[in-house]
Each structure stands twice: as structure tokens, then as C-alpha cells.
């Protein structure tokens, strides 16, 4: 549920593929073996748990729609495999001296799928669409920072900002909408919601509700037509079914669970037909403390709890080892990650000592620490439907009990969970996760101005220095400068422990061996999908 804003984020690869570790001769470098000449044709079949909701990007926020929209539409910019921004619809771009004007020079050879030319008017229209008060889009915030836009000629687009805003660049990776089809129409009820027209590498072909969505290669794509001719998204709501379909070869791609990755796909038959990849996904799981509760007011209590948790035990038990410990809000293989922060390795002695310093003693002899006659006891809430979080909670519960902290675990249905617990701040501690992307701005989650009910700093974290660092971090564009701010930010979080950062899990996709041209990179494997191909002899569903 939390990855609603995942569409701009791309995962990073630990260059570690299982195939390479196996001793079998045919399991050489997946996808990159035999320097074959790319060939056109073939079908790529993938399953999605849910049907797409709306194929106008401005109106959709679910991951199924985003997956399709990412192939149908283009942004001005995009992330490449190294997670650097590069031009997509924009050939190049400039940031003014004072960081307040962004100028994009657009490609001149781009056409919409219906043949109309793409111009700066489309970009301007898209911007206006996102800030239109009548359009209920979940992505308006970054565009509100823009004070005005200009289109000096059909291939130049200029955006002005009052104050420099670093996440702005990322916001221009947003899908550009076709002005000529949407202007003056009722966008909320546009037929484009069900049959989109974009500029991307794939054209929309067919949508059978609840069954499948089919895309066809765009022969006029400005970067050349993609090799794979058809992409089919089958809607299969159950992951066990997806897995059975994968085993029969009816699916070409699936993100596996740790259990499937580790045990159920460890067969010769599976290895013959699929390559498995693993890389760290963006996002982490944490234990967040409600800082408005007196119990968690003392930082030593939070630090003690961090010491009481065995991260490796969580990673081994919950993720079967497919993950790494999180020490802050950024994952370890990004430029912004600061490895030199205070770390809390499992140390129950230290935990007890810190709690004792904070005044918690077991005076009643019942095994639970107490202070002023009150036992050290609280409830961890988490949402239903995420087994990993529930298991994490159970393991933490046992570890806390060992240092004399009594913890109850409550699992609540998502809507109720937000409405009655998180938003009104009616919880002691919670296990949740955030997903993010390469952009390090964390203003919405940690700034003290974001603590109102319903906002994302729901634990009530207030720290003047963090506020200032976050404000500065989003005002500069230079990576070194930003890193300085965010390094300090991570140090403070590690010291203060408003969250105990638990783990970053790995994405574990399996891809049919028929597909070549897959080049794992920091961005994962899907970033160069246009370059994937199937040798003609191995193509299926060619008609």
C-alpha cells in the first residue's frame, strides 16, 4: 500500500545473481550470454495482482496503472541504469545560476501515438493539468512549487520557481499528457482513461477488464522501436497462481517471495527456464515510536529498544536472508547513504543498562520493568495483509520481553489502521514501511511542519536541526552539498532513534531465459526493457 508513489522510483541492483553463483555451466551470466544480434518480435507476458485503475497518469496512483503508463508515456527526464537523470523527451536541460529557472530543450522528432507532433504546449498543458484544482491528482505537490511556466518556442519549455527546489527535476519525469486530445474535454471522464495515447515505446492495444492489458511496440518510437513486439499484463490476483503459471512457462516475469526464491525455484527445471536476479529494493521497514507518548520521550528508552532488536535475526527469519539491515531512511548502495552513523547491534546488556539509566527497574519481580508503579508495556500496531511485518512484530515482541519490556501486537485492517490509529496519533509504536526513490528529499516525513493529523510525520518528530537540514537539502542541486546535509540528517536520526530502522528487502525477480539483453544495473533490471529481445527461434505467440 505504501508504494503509491513508487512510479518514479527505480530499484538498485547488488550485482549478485544466483545464476552466477551456481556451478552449472549453462547458468552463466543471465541474459548477457552469447553476444546475439537483437531480433524483433516476441511477446512478454507478466502478471499483475490488480487490474489497472486508470491509464491517465494524472488520475492514477496504483502500481498496476503505473507499470503500464511507464511504457505508454514519456517524461521530460528519466533515470538511467545508474540512477542518474537523463533526457527523455528533453534533449538537454539547464538549471539557472540561482537554481530557480529550469529550461528544457525538447526533442523535435517525437510524435504522439496518433501521429500528432509533440511540442512544448503539451508540457505546459500537463503542468496546468496537475495544478488544476478540479483534477484530483495525487501528484500536485511538486508542481505547486512552480510559479510560472513559459513556452518561448514549440521546442523549449521553461519553469520558474520562487525558491530553488531540488526535487523539481524529478517532478519533470512525470508523464506528459497529449494536449490535443484532452484540452477542453472533461478529463475525469476522458476515453483516454481506458485507451491511452502517449509518446512512449509501446502503444495501447487492448484492455479486457480484470483479465489482461495488451500493448504493442510503437514502430515510430523516437529512440527506435523496441525489440519485443507485444507486452501482455495478465491480471492474476493470487500470487500462488502466478507462481504456478510461471512454472508452466505461461509467464515470463515474476517478482518472487523469499521463500519461492530460496526453496521452491531451486529445481533444475526452473533453472533451465528462468534466470533469477536479486537487488536491493527502494524502501525499508521500521519500528516507529509515537514521540507524543511520555513513555518514548526519553531517547535512552528508544536506544535501548534498538539494542534489544537483533536485525540479523529479522533478516534471516523474515526475509530468509534476502535483505540488509537499515540504518536510516536511505538504502546502503545509494550516494546519499551515510555508513558512519551510530549503529545498534544486538546487545541486550546495553539495552537493560540504558533502561535502568532511564529509571526502569523491575521492583515487582514479575519480569517486567516498571517505574513509579507503572509497568514498561506498550502496543505495536501494524496493518493486516503484510505477513513480513507481522512476523517482524512477533520476533521483536519476544526480544523485548527478554529485556523486561511487555509488548502486545495488534494487526488492523488498512483503512481502520490509518483512520483510527495512525492519523489521530492513537498508537504507541508501529511497524510500517516507506518506499522511496533516488531523490533523497525527506521533508514530508521528518519536518516538524508535517505533524498534523493525516500528515506523514505521524510519530511527531520535532528537531530544529533536522528541520533546517531538510529545508537546505531541497534548496541545493549539487550532490556534494546535498550529501553534507543528508549525512548529518542521518546521524541525527541514528542518534535520536525516532524510528528503529529495521531492514531493506531485496527484489527477487525471475525472468524467462528466452529474454536477452538484460543488464542488471543500480536501477534494477527493468530500466532498459526496450533493449530486451528474444531470438527468433525462441519467440512464442508470434502472430
Amino acid at each position: 500500500m505504501l508504494h503509491v508513489f513508487f512510479r518514479l522510483s527505480i530499484a538498485v541492483v547488488l550485482l549478485l545473481f544466483l545464476g552466477a553463483c551456481e556451478s552449472q555451466p549453462e547458468a552463466s551470466l543471465p541474459g548477457m550470454s552469447e553476444a546475439l544480434e537483437p531480433e524483433y518480435g516476441g511477446t512478454f507476458i507478466e502478471a499483475s495482482i490488480a487490474d489497472a485503475s486508470n491509464l491517465l497518469p494524472v488520475l492514477s496512483s496504483d502500481s498496476a496503472s503505473s507499470a503500464i503508463n511507464s511504457l505508454v508515456y514519456n517524461g521530460l527526464l528519466r533515470y538511467n541504469g545508474q540512477l542518474e537523470l537523463e533526457g527523455e523527451l528533453a534533449q538537454r536541460w539547464e538549471v539557472s545560476e540561482d537554481n530557480r529557472i529550469l529550461t528544457f530543450h525538447l526533442r523535435r522528432d517525437v510524435r504522439w501515438h496518433d501521429g500528432s507532433p509533440f511540442t512544448s504546449a503539451d508540457v505546459k498543458f500537463t503542468y496546468e493539468l496537475y495544478i488544476d484544482p478540479e483534477i484530483p491528482t495525487a501528484y500536485a505537490e511538486s508542481f505547486r512549487q512552480v510559479t510560472r511556466v513559459e513556452t518561448p518556442d514549440p521546442y523549449t519549455f521553461v519553469a520558474h520557481y520562487d525558491t530553488p527546489y531540488a526535487p523539481a527535476l524529478l517532478s519533470w519525469a512525470t508523464a506528459i499528457h497529449p494536449r490535443h486530445l484532452l484540452e477542453g474535454t472533461d478529463v475525469l471522464r476522458s476515453p483516454l482513461s481506458r485507451s491511452p495515447v502517449g509518446t512512449g515505446p509501446y502503444r495501447f492495444a487492448e484492455w479486457v477488464s480484470g483479465e489482461k492489458i495488451v500493448l504493442e511496440a510503437n514502430p515510430d518510437y523516437f529512440e527506435g522501436p523496441p525489440y519485443i513486439r507485444r507486452v501482455v499484463y495478465r491480471i492474476i490476483p493470487d500470487v500462488s497462481t502466478q507462481f504456478l503459471e510461471l512454472q508452466t512457462g505461461s509467464l515470463d516475469f515474476m517478482g518472487l517471495t523469499p521463500l519461492q526464491f530460496d526453496r521452491q525455484t531451486d529445481t533444475p527445471a526452473f533453472r533451465r527456464n528462468y534466470n533469477k536476479y536479486q537487488y536491493l529494493s527502494f524502501g525499508y521497514t521500521y519500528l516507529g515510536y509515537n514521540l507524543r507518548r511520555p513513555l518514548f520521550a526519553d531517547k535512552r528508552v528508544r536506544q535501548a529498544l534498538a539494542y534489544a532488536i537483533d536485525e540479523q535475526e529479522l533478516i534471516d527469519g523474515v526475509l530468509l536472508g534476502y535483505g540488509v539491515a537499515a540504518t536510516g531512511p536511505y538504502k546502503p548502495d545509494t550516494w546519499v547513504y551515510n555508513p558512519a552513523v551510530k549503529q545498534y547491534h544486538y546487545n541486550p546488556e546495553k539495552a537493560r543498562q540504558l533502561l535502568a539509566e532511564a529509571g526502569w527497574q523491575d521492583t515487582t519481580g514479575d519480569g517486567i520493568l516498571d517505574q513509579d508503579g507503572k509497568p514498561l508495556s506498550f502496543t505495536i500496531v501494524t496493518n493486516q495483509g503484510n505477513d513480513l511485518r507481522i512476523k517482524t512484530g512477533e520476533i521483536i515482541q519476544r526480544r523485548f520481553r527478554e529485556i523486561g519490556v511487555d509488548v502486545r501486537l495488534r494487526v488492523i485492517e488498512w483503512a481502520t489502521f490509518l483512520k483510527d490509529f495512525i492519523n489521530p496519533g492513537n498508537f504507541d509504536a508501529t511497524i510500517l514501511g516507506w518506499s522511496g526513490g533516488p531523490e533523497p528529499d525527506q521533508y514530508n516525513i521528518w519536518h516538524s511542519s508535517k505533524t498534523a493529523p493525516g500528515q506523514l510525520n505521524f510519530i511527531g518528530f520535532e528537531h530544529p536541526e533536522v528541520d533546517e537540514l531538510l529545508e537546505r537539502g531541497r534548496r541545493v542541486f549539487e550532490q556534494e552539498q546535498r550529501k553534507e546535509y543528508y549525512n548529518r540528517f542521518q546521524e541525527i536520526l541514528a542518534e535520536e532513534q525516532p524510528y528503529t530502522f529495521l531492514y531493506v528487502s531485496e527484489a527477487l525477480p525471475a525472468v524467462s531465459r528466452r529474454f536477452r539483453g538484460i543488464e542488471p544495473a543500480p536501477a534494477g533490471i527493468r530500466y532498459n526493457f526496450q533493449d530486451w529481445f528474444v531470438p527468433q527461434a525462441e519467440q512464442k505467440y508470434t502472430r
Partner: protein, 331 residues
């Protein structure tokens, strides 16, 4: 008969209103709103967005006004637009899911009847025989087995290991390129497992029901009379006893009319079949009020009509009931 029918039909109206009112209130009692999915836990969404969406959906109005507006639209058979991201008319969403749901339910009822009626008869006639006991055990095992588990086992056996049947979905990917007979075979092979799994639970109940009806009838005097007349056992059982034992089946069939449009979330999810069960489940999870209400109203109308239909059929089929109504006390 006609005045009775009209009276019954008129009685349905307040009943239906009551059902919609209660449903409307209950779904609004559930915490969370349709706007939550888009706006909650999203750093890019502002609080104005939430307000704007609530205004667009009419959620800022008091509940009784919302109900009034909804009822007003329903009066002209307008089920409204879905609150899901696509804002399509609810009626479109329902109609696109209905055919497959009805097809599977019809096939499944046919399968249940075809298997459980003979099973029930034989079990009753050879009561406590080896056959009776083993079928009892068998059908109850089927009944007790979680359908999702059974479905996964069957999919693994027939789909993955034996490779005989497709695992999920309604059609193969190359369906458009198959010959006409190939298309029909493709359709049938996709339906075998879902129909079997959805029927297996009903088998137990229905065959036991059939068995006890039959036992009841066999004990009757007129069966004794038939046997005394020297009729063959076959005629006694299949002509005299069976007809009477089948009577209560009408009630059950009437009651299964609303079931025709109701799908099962579990097996639709597992077999990746876009049916009504999944539609309703997703609607509830997203708090898509117009969709939930639309499906509930259709279900309620069909339930009420199904009951009525069962009553009428009963009267038509059973002279005792028919006469009892026209001339009370003389039956």
C-alpha cells in the same frame, strides 16, 4: 393467484428500501473513505486534495442527503459512477462481470444436480451400505476441504505436473488465432477446474439433502401401496418416490437465484477469473460506495424475486399447497 402475486410484489418495495437503508448505513460505518487510497500516506498529496475529492464524490454532505441522492438516482435505474480511479458507470462494471459469473454458477449448479441427485437416491435406497458410507465420507471431505487449497492442489496436478489443463484465466493467450472448435475446447478446458471447485462444496449439502428427502418419502404409505400393487422396485423408486423427493429442490433452486450473480472471492482470485465476487471484494476494500450499493441492490432484488419464484413454483408443483391456499381448512 394474481392478487396474491401483486400483494407479494408490493410487499417487496418496503423490504427493498429497508435493505438499501441498512446497507447504506453499514458501509458508511466502516472506517476509511474512498479517497483514502489516493491521498493517505502519499507525500505528494495535499490535504486540499482530500477535500476536493470528497466534494466531487459528494461525501461532504450529511449522510441522509447522500442516501437521498443515491435513492433518487436509483429510482431512474442510475447506479452512479464508481469511486475507483476510473469513474466508470457502476452498471458497466457489473455487466462486464456478470456473464462469466452466471455461466460458472449455472454450470456449477448443473454439475451439483447431476451428481448429487443420483448419489442421494442410491445412498437412500441402499442405506448404510458400503456405497452410502463411502460417498458420505467423500462428500463431507470435499465439503470440509478449504476450496483455495483444493484449487491449488488441482492446479498443481493438472496444470503443472500433468500439463493437461490451463491453470488460470478464461482463455489462452493465442485464443483469437484458434479455429472455432479450438476456441470452444479452449473455453471448456479453462472452465473445468473452476466449475469443479465451486461445485464441490455444494455437492455435500445437496446430496445429503436428497438422501434424507428420499428416506422420508420411502417411508410413506403411498410407497408401501405402490410396492403392494406389485410395481417393480425401479418404478417405485424413480417414478413415485423420486418425484415427491424432488419437491423441496425447488425451494433450493429458488434460493440459489441470487447466488447466480454472487461470485466467490476466493476461487475467482485463485483462478484469475474476473467475476462478481472479486469486483465486490475490491469495491469493499476501496470503499467504493456506489459499486457496493449497486451490487447489494441487485443481490437483494434477486433474493426477493427468487424467494417469490420459489413460492410460486412450489404452489404450481405441489397440489397440497395450491389447494390449501384456495380453500383453507379443507386440505
Amino acid at each position: 393467484m394474481l392478487p396474491y402475486l401483486i400483494r407479494r410484489l408490493l410487499l417487496l418495495i418496503p423490504l427493498l428500501l429497508g435493505i438499501t437503508l441498512i446497507s447504506f448505513v453499514v458501509i458508511h460505518l466502516a472506517p476509511g473513505e474512498p479517497t483514502d487510497l489516493q491521498t493517505q500516506m502519499n507525500p505528494q498529496a495535499s490535504s486540499e486534495l482530500q477535500e476536493r475529492l470528497r466534494r466531487q464524490y459528494g461525501l461532504d454532505q450529511p449522510l441522509y442527503i447522500q442516501y437521498g441522492q443515491w435513492l433518487g438516482r436509483l429510482a431512474v435505474l442510475d447506479f452512479g459512477e464508481s469511486f475507483a480511479g476510473d469513474r466508470r458507470p457502476v452498471i458497466d462494471k457489473i455487466f462486464e462481470r456478470l456473464p462469466v459469473t452466471i455461466l460458472i454458477n449455472l454450470l456449477s449448479i448443473a454439475f451439483i444436480l447431476a451428481v448429487s441427485i443420483p448419489l442421494g437416491i442410491i445412498s437412500a435406497v441402499r442405506r448404510n451400505s458400503m456405497f452410502d458410507r463411502s460417498t458420505t465420507i467423500l462428500v463431507f471431505t470435499g465439503f470440509a476441504m478449504p476450496s483455495f487449497w483444493l484449487a491449488l492442489l488441482l492446479m498443481d496436478w493438472f496444470g503443472v505436473r500433468l500439463g493437461l489443463l490451463p491453470i488460470s484465466g478464461l482463455k489462452s493467450l493465442g485464443y483469437e488465432y484458434l479455429s472455432f472448435s479450438g476456441q470452444i475446447l479452449d473455453r471448456i478446458s479453462h472452465l473445468i477446474l473452476p466449475v469443479f471447485v465451486s461445485a464441490i462444496g455444494g455437492l455435500a449439502g445437496f446430496s445429503r439433502y436428497m438422501r434424507s428427502n428420499m428416506l422420508e418419502v420411502i417411508r410413506q404409505d403411498y410407497i408401501l401401496t405402490a410396492r403392494a400393487k406389485g410395481l417393480s422396485e425401479h418404478t417405485v423408486i424413480y417414478k413415485h418416490a423420486l418425484r415427491n423427493a424432488l419437491l423441496p429442490v425447488i425451494t433450493i433452486l429458488g434460493l440459489s437465484v441470487p447466488g447466480l450473480i454472487g461470485g466467490s472471492v476466493i476461487f475467482e482470485t485463485i483462478f484469475a477469473i474476473p467475476g462478481m465476487g472479486k469486483l465486490f471484494f475490491d469495491g469493499v476494500m476501496m470503499r467504493d460506495y456506489p459499486l457496493i450499493m449497486g451490487i447489494l441492490v441487485m443481490g437483494a432484488v434477486l433474493t426477493l424475486l427468487g424467494n417469490l419464484l420459489a413460492d410460486i413454483c412450489y404452489a404450481l408443483a405441489d397440489p397440497r399447497i395450491r389447494h390449501g391456499q384456495q380453500a383453507p381448512g379443507k386440505g
